[in-house]
Amino acid sequence: MRFVARRLGFFLLTLWAAVTLNFLIPRLMPGNAALAMMSRYKGRVNPQAIHALEIAFGIHTHQSLVGAYFTYLGDIARGHFGISLTFFPDAVSHQVLQALPWTLALVGTTTILAFVLGTFIGLISAWRRGGMLDGALPPIFVITSAFPYFWLALLAIWLFAIKLGWFPESGGYDVTTTVGWSWAFVEDAIRHSILPAATILITSIGGWILTMRNNAISVLAEDYVRMARAKGLKPWRIMWTYAGRNAILPNLTGFAMSLGFVVSGAILVEFVFNYPGVGWMFLQSVENQDYALMQALFLMITVAVLLAILAADGATAVLDPRTRDGA
């Protein structure tokens, strides 16, 4: 219980930090970017849009900085992120909700898949130490983990879309199909997602394989693994319940820590593929100087990462009784 309370407290704090950064960054930039932006837009866009910017920046001309900060916090708490300039006059929150399912499906699925596969391969590699798999994997994946995501995405487009024509070049679906839960649409969406998914998978799986392999190697040296062998347990039982289950614990912490890295890569992959998800929209908002949308998306990404870490924490608590006892 104390564990849960402590973690939740930490997440609220992190969320608060992200919100505060959102509020402070435009003010701290040289020349107070927020005010400069406001005066630039005055008279050019309608009052509604100005109000949207006021919410995004927390600028209320009649308020002190502290007062503005609390008004801003209040707006965020009620889900008022202002109005998008790019998709005027649509509310930012509505836009975000449209992009979210695409990213969850693409990045969420591939990240989980990469983690599960990578953990599995890493464990096998450590178990068969010095075997073929173990000899080939580390050098290969050390190098692929250094690949820029967006470059691999470009390469994939060039080879599989332009040269071979196996997959569509960009987008999340064919514009001629109607969006909805029809088989044709789902099939089309899957076809569009294969290249970006493969790109994310290839670049992110290496990290999981290597950390799991190294964890498993240390765990295999533990007495309880030797003890399991002394007990005459079957090898697969030793590998999973004794070595695997213990080696995955630090990997789950690692999952939390490298998630930010994966998300960064995913943003660029969505950008390169023009994939209609949160990352693509985020970069669009930057491009169009749609600050209300940009800030909302940044918070959104932070929340998503926090939720994923929370899930990893939950898995740790399930797998490790010591965490449950707060030891």
Binding site: F150, T241, F271, L283
Partner: protein
């Protein structure tokens, strides 16, 4: 050799699990500093990483001399394909791609080193001070570290860049550095915390050194590898993030960099317009520079963590020994275990280390045999070899000899056959139950594992049997549902013994089962083991460093020194009349409850390096009775009134035909 009085049999009280699983490596050989370069040169990944890095460093320093053209000023025909004049073709603006690549190197290299340096400096400052200051400062700094670690940095940088468009090199370095230190700080903090309670820091504190002095002179040097890892990690992240930012147009579009090249290539749809190399090669450069850092980082991990390095055991170089006359008589019903000429070697960087060298002994039904010796003498390895617990994925291999257990040579048994007799016929109790019990399973689950592996017992029967054995060692059956960490040290140890008795085996091999306990708990556990042994009739091999502990319990004692049997005989006889100078020294190092008060003496010197064992008697360097002969020639085991002693002092008293050639005279 330095003659420090070393209390012979006091092992470090903190149990280092690796000490039992790996070859003993003298402290001096673990040194980092100068050995570092040799280790780097030996590691293939490190060599490739260094070469790649050097390549880019040269490009970044001399782009003007190396690049064939100016990156921007000289304009050729746009969109040229690869040719001898333009290896990688030209851009849509008619500039030479290769020259742009070469000029672009500088920025990536500068960013990598500047951000790596800045982030590492911040990581060291925050991480080390958090751990060293402790208390509220630690809480505060750790919290900041964790928050920064969790906030997705790249989106945050994009948000910052959105307000500060066309960020120059300086801004980029500051922002990346200011946000990229948290991972390193976290690791450095953990490392510092683990160092805090070490003796050398306590000593510095007692000397009254200032905190800043302690941090700079005592803590930082021990963390070289972590600091290097932190630098390499930050450099890798900086190269990738900077390229990403420039690629999406958030850098200075006029700068010479790989990311900017990709930005322009993407804007001109270079891939579709057949200027593929323009769009691909900058990415290759980013990937290669990134790979250099990643490879170095990984290699460093391997170098600083020896467990990650795989060493192949090559025993072709070890000396050949003539086979001893093995006892060919069929195993009598009384003798359940015979160990003949057993040798075990570990692979190490210096070649094979023979940790058990040609050991012979036998064990009778229901007998209690003590195996004693200093840490690193090979006693635990001997125990693992007998129980066939060596070999992949564990280090160490049996290189020679037989272990005949109830008529079967265990060395020759396959995994499946071994599995069949494990735990039913012989079981193992390890040194520290804290390490030997699976931390994530309940006691019941761990007992059920063993039962399911060897019997068709139903869950009900398993539970009944588990309760029975727990009661045998006086543990409340309620603890079946406990996890190891919820039990006290003594209880854990007893639970492990209970587990070993599930099938009432004929032999229980115990590796220092009491060394983690205090003296009172030790005593009561020993009594309990002895009582159970007499009641259930199993034989015990009891490995310990504490000779006095087994004196009242064991029937016979085997004294090991530097991988060999030094003396083997009846316990009473050995205590009353120790023959080998080493046994005598061991006994002198222990207080006796009875008898006059005498000054305890340690044994001067330290055991020999098993990677390079001495030519003669292994104890000669520390022996008060050493002779030129014992320094030159290894003594065999002499049979003196039924007591086997490896010492030339007893050559005379041993009848010639009684010489049991436990070792050979000839030295290869």
């Amino acid at each position: 050799m330095t003659f420090q009085p070393v209390p012979a049999t006091t092992e470090p009280t903190t149990t280092v699990p690796s000490s039992a699983t790996g070859p003993p490596i003298p402290e001096s050989r673990r040194g980092f500093g100068t050995d570092l370069w040799r280790a780097v040169a030996r590691n293939r990944k490190a060599v490739v990483g260094v070469l790649l890095l050097l390549f880019f460093l040269v490009l970044s320093v001399f782009p003007g001399e190396i690049a064939p053209y100016s990156p921007t000023a000289e304009v050729f025909q746009p969109g040229l394909g690869p040719s001898w004049q333009h290896w990688f073709g030209t851009t849509a603006y008619g500039q030479d791609v290769l020259s742009q690549l070469i000029w672009g190197t500088r920025q990536s290299v500068v960013i990598a080193f500047a951000v790596g340096g800045l982030a590492t400096a911040l990581a060291v400052i925050v991480g080390v001070s958090a751990a060293y200051l402790g208390g509220i400062s630690d809480g505060f700094l750790s919290l900041i570290t964790d928050v920064i670690l969790v906030i997705p940095i790249f989106p945050l940088i994009i948000v910052i860049a959105a307000y500060e468009r066309n960020a120059g090199l300086f801004t980029l370095v500051i922002v990346l550095g200011a946000l990229g230190w948290s991972y390193g700080a976290r690791q450095l903090r953990a490392q510092t915390l683990s160092l805090r309670r070490r003796d050398f820091l306590e000593a510095a504190r007692v000397r009254g050194e200032r905190k800043s002095y302690v941090i700079l002179h005592e803590i930082l040097p021990t963390m070289t590898s972590l600091i290097v890892a932190s630098f390499l990690g930050a450099a890798l992240y900086a190269v990738l993030f900077a390229a990403g930012l420039q690629f999406i147009g958030l850098g200075d579009p006029n700068s010479q960099s790989w990311g900017t090249m990709l930005y322009w290539a993407e804007n001109n749809e270079a891939l579709g317009a057949n200027m593929v190399l323009w769009a691909i090669t900058p990415g290759v450069c980013v990937a290669l520079l990134g790979a250099a850092f990643a490879l170095l980082n990984y290699a460093f991990d391997e170098i600083s963590n020896p467990a990650l390095r795989l060493r192949k055991l090559d025993i072709t170089g070890t000396r050949e020994r003539p086979k001893d006359a093995t006892i060919t008589a069929p195993t009598t019903s009384d003798r359940i275990l015979e160990v003949r000429g057993l040798s075990v070697a570990y692979a190490s960087d210096e070649g094979p280390v023979v940790a058990v060298d040609n050991v012979d002994f036998d064990l009778h039904r229901g007998e209690f045999l003590g195996i004693v010796g200093e840490s690193g003498c090979g006693k635990s390895t001997l125990m693992y070899a007998i129980a066939r617990l060596l070999g992949p994925p564990f280090s160490g291999e049996i290189t020679d000899g037989e272990v005949i257990f109830r008529g079967r040579d265990m060395v020759k048994l396959g995994d499946r056959q071994l599995r069949h007799i494990r735990w039913r016929e012989f079981s193992v109790v390890m040194q520290s139950a804290m390490n030997a019990l699976n931390p994530v399973l309940t006691i019941e689950a761990q007992m059920r594992d063993a039962c399911k592996a060897h019997s068709k017992m139903s869950d009900k029967e398993i539970e009944k049997r588990s309760i029975e054995v727990l009661k045998l060692v006086s543990i409340d059956p309620i603890h079946l549902l406990s996890y190891p960490h919820q039990l006290s040290g003594g209880m854990r140890q007893r639970a492990m013994i209970a587990m070993a008795l599930l099938f009432t085996p004929d032999l229980v091999i115990m590796d220092e089962p009491t060394s983690a306990l205090d003296v009172v708990a030790q005593r009561s556990l020993m009594m309990q083991i002895k009582e159970l042994q007499e009641r259930l009739g199993f034989a015990v091999i009891f490995v310990t460093h504490d000779m006095s502990l087994v004196s009242h319990f064991s029937d016979r004692l085997l004294v090991m020194y530097a991988a060999q049997v030094a003396e083997f005989g009846n316990t009473r006889q050995l205590f009353d009349n120790p023959r080998h100078p080493y046994t005598r020294a061991l006994l002198d190092a222990f207080p006796s409850i009875h008898g006059p008060r005498v000054r305890l003496t340690g044994i001067p010197g330290s055991p020999p390096d098993l990677a390079r064992p001495p030519q003669g008697c292994r104890f000669a360097a520390r022996c008060p009775h050493a002779t030129p002969r014992s320094i030159a020639v290894e003594p065999p085991l002499f049979d003196v009134e039924g007591d086997l002693v490896r010492c030339f002092l007893y050559e005379e008293s041993a009848a010639e035909e009684n010489v049991r050639a436990g070792a050979t005279e000839g030295v290869a």
